[in-house]
Amino acid sequence: MGGKMRFLLLFSRQGKLRLQKWFTPLTDREKKKVIRDMMMMVLARPPRTCNFLQWRDLKIVYKRYASLYFCTGLEDQDNELLTLEVLHRYVELLDKYFGNVCELDIIFNFEKAYFILDEFLMGGEILETSRMAVAGSLEEADTLQEVKDQTVYYSVPQY
């Protein structure tokens, strides 16, 4: 069955990992191998080459934004061109949230980068296609978090 992303990695030119999202269960060892291989392959690419690579049975789509590489592995059925748009959309969302996002923002606020990602993608698929909708939900969730007093919302008891 095809059609979803297997993982999304963000890493710097120096090979520092800034974000890792896994959409399939892998052991720690397997994850480390993937990270190593991706960094090796992607960082070796000269500029102005195409953004697609083949690795094992996956298609790898990567794009460089300033000092960060966004790299994802797709299954066979996936549309590589659309994935470029997905990566771009994520960058746009980060940019909107942080205001002129740069690598440092993602380093010092990594948990926010994950929260943003989780409003945009889920289970390796696109969750929300509207920029405004994602931005809106994030704002609401952040407000909820900041509410001092931490008003307790009573959950409905389940038996």
């Binding site: 959409f23 919302y153 959950s155």
Partner: protein, 789 residues
Amino acid sequence: MSPSVPLQEMIRAIRSARTQCEERGVIQRECAAIRAQFRQADNEGRSHNLAKLLYVHMLGYPAHFGQMECVRMIASPRYSEKRVGYLGAMMLLDEKQDASLLITNSIKNDLSHSSQFVQSLALCTLACMGSAEMCRDLAPEIDKLLRSSNSYIKKKAALCAVHIVRKVNELGELFAPAARSLLSEKNHGVLHGAVVLITELCERSPETLERFRKSVPELVHIMKGLVLSGYSPEHDVAGISDPFLQVRILRLLRILGHNNEVASDAMNDLLAQVATNTDSTKTAGNAVLYETVLTVLDIKSESGLRVLAVNILGRFLLNNDRNIRYIAMTSLQKIVGTDHIAVQRHRGTIVDCLKDPDASVKRRALELSLALVSASNIRSMMKELLNFLSTCPLELRAQAASGIFAAAERYSPSQRWHIDTILHVLTTAGGDVRDETVPNLIQLITTASELHCYTVHKLYRALLQDISQQPLVQVACWCIGEYGDLLLKGDCQEIEPVQVNENDVLDALETVLQSHMSSPTTRGFALTATMKLSTRITENVDRIRSIVSIYGSCIDLELQQRAVEYNALFKKYDHMRAAVLERMPIMEKNSTGQTNGETTGELVKEVQPVKVIQGQPPTQPPASQVCDLLDLLGDSNDSGKPSSSSAQSSNNTSSPGGDLLDLLGGLDLMPPTPVPTIPVYEKNGVNLTLSCQKQSETSLIVTLTASNSTDADITTFTLQAAVPKSVQLLMKAPSGDHLPACGTVKVTQVVVLNNPNKVNLKMRIRVSFTSQGVAFQDTVQVDSLPECR
């Protein structure tokens, strides 16, 4: 206890560490503090601590001690703590950890929480790391949420359902009705989720697929709405309205229309519309066009639409954007079998892409070019491919070389062209060709009898130029040895005549023998070639004699053995030398039967046994000739052949011809390492030894070898074997039943054992024979077979 530093200060501290060691120190201190904080019951900074741990985890340090804290945080009533707790769960827990089960209950509670953001956390986490068990447990809850009135929840529930279905196939049935009704949603997020869910359900269940075919008109309608709608700021990407949704709908249509006339008809117009109206200047538009093309090519579309699709791919091939060219070639590769003529029209552009500096593009172009080679374009295509071979990146050379060989084999306009092509590849990329190339080329050369003279001249000249490419050198040596007389005669129509004298030829061979660049196999070829020349030249036979005797003390076991045997040929068996070294007959080849459209051209993987048609006199020298062939064919690793196997092969020349082939086939399977033999029976003049070789985890080949130590012949020699019940036994035909006196010839019996239960292998062997008119029968038990590798 040192107070814990807020997250960002910790990050700063880690980043300012100047060495790895310093960093480790900072992290160790921080982790200790975090651990201490975890142990404290109630704590304001809990979410900060966990966040710090997650950061440390991302740097690659162990963080499993945080797993229980995640479980606790998820159960907290505070949203900020839940948020970080769930994030921690997604990062530190996966379905393989036991701790993940502990959060099932929290997730269940949170799925029905009054705040949609808490529900969302639970949905997200379940979709990220939910195990099959958790999915089964919570599926009904998700189904309920699919019917909620809240779009935010619905879209998340849809993707959560997708995850559940991927984990537990049968639950697809549960979600089908809800998925159907979601198609009438206006909210793009929900609609997108619905389409993804329906796609997943249809891919997994043919019945569900059948049912959802009825939704094709609805999907077409939605798609039309997107394509024709005006500018919508919320969904616009470079002039395309929600390309993400469009692509998913197109993919679903592809699945629904595949192999179904009715469904394909219903979407025909829409696809034509999208194909012609979508703006192709930006990536978003091209992504939609790409998906449209893939759909058109995969359903039962009208021929006109199909042509349109292929033309779009053709346009893509000319696009400046490398990405577009790359995916165009990927798609063309998929249809090169079915729409061969259409793709052929773009051959020129594709071949040009061979020269693209981008390695990814080159790779695609190579695969596609090889697929496009045909009888009519073979000459021009081969020129391009050979050109490519000389300049292509190293990682593509092996593929290119084998593709060229396959193409040449299928479409050669003439034998000379074929030989020339192979020689060209060997001179350009000799190091990257597969091992079978050498025997394959030799076989090809023998069949082209009119070209022997031409070939040997060409190879000789290539050899003089460069002796570093091993496959080339090996073939050259073989030819010089075989056709040396033609080389020396000098006259050849196809090539400019050059006078070659005997000493030159011997010099060339000796250079190969002595060069440090020559592999042991190559040196073996050279030595044999030198030997063969002894019957093809007239004046310098003594030189050959001295070369051969020098190598009789060579340190390489293989060469030494050959030299000794050739020496013996000179000394003791000189009367047979001419017959032994005469011209080889044409070798027959088992055809690989390559199928249409096969681009990578799988060459003969296993080396085919050679049918040696000439008679085999049952003495030592022919055995060495047989050994030669075996080396030629089977010994791709350079380990020396142990003497035991040569003894075996010589024994087998006394048996009917069919066995020889069996032996060669068998030797292909076995790695040429010395096998331990144990004596099993030594009585009445019969010496029986046993050796084993492991074929796989459960199968074993046992070889029994018998010889006669008496002065009288032994006849009617037979062996029978019995093994434990669960073991399967297959006895092959013995090499003979006659054991001549004084052990000059041995009899071998091969027994194949299959031991699926892996029981302790015992064997009982019954030996029966007649010696000097007396019948003997005896039984011996072998309690354990020797250690086999």
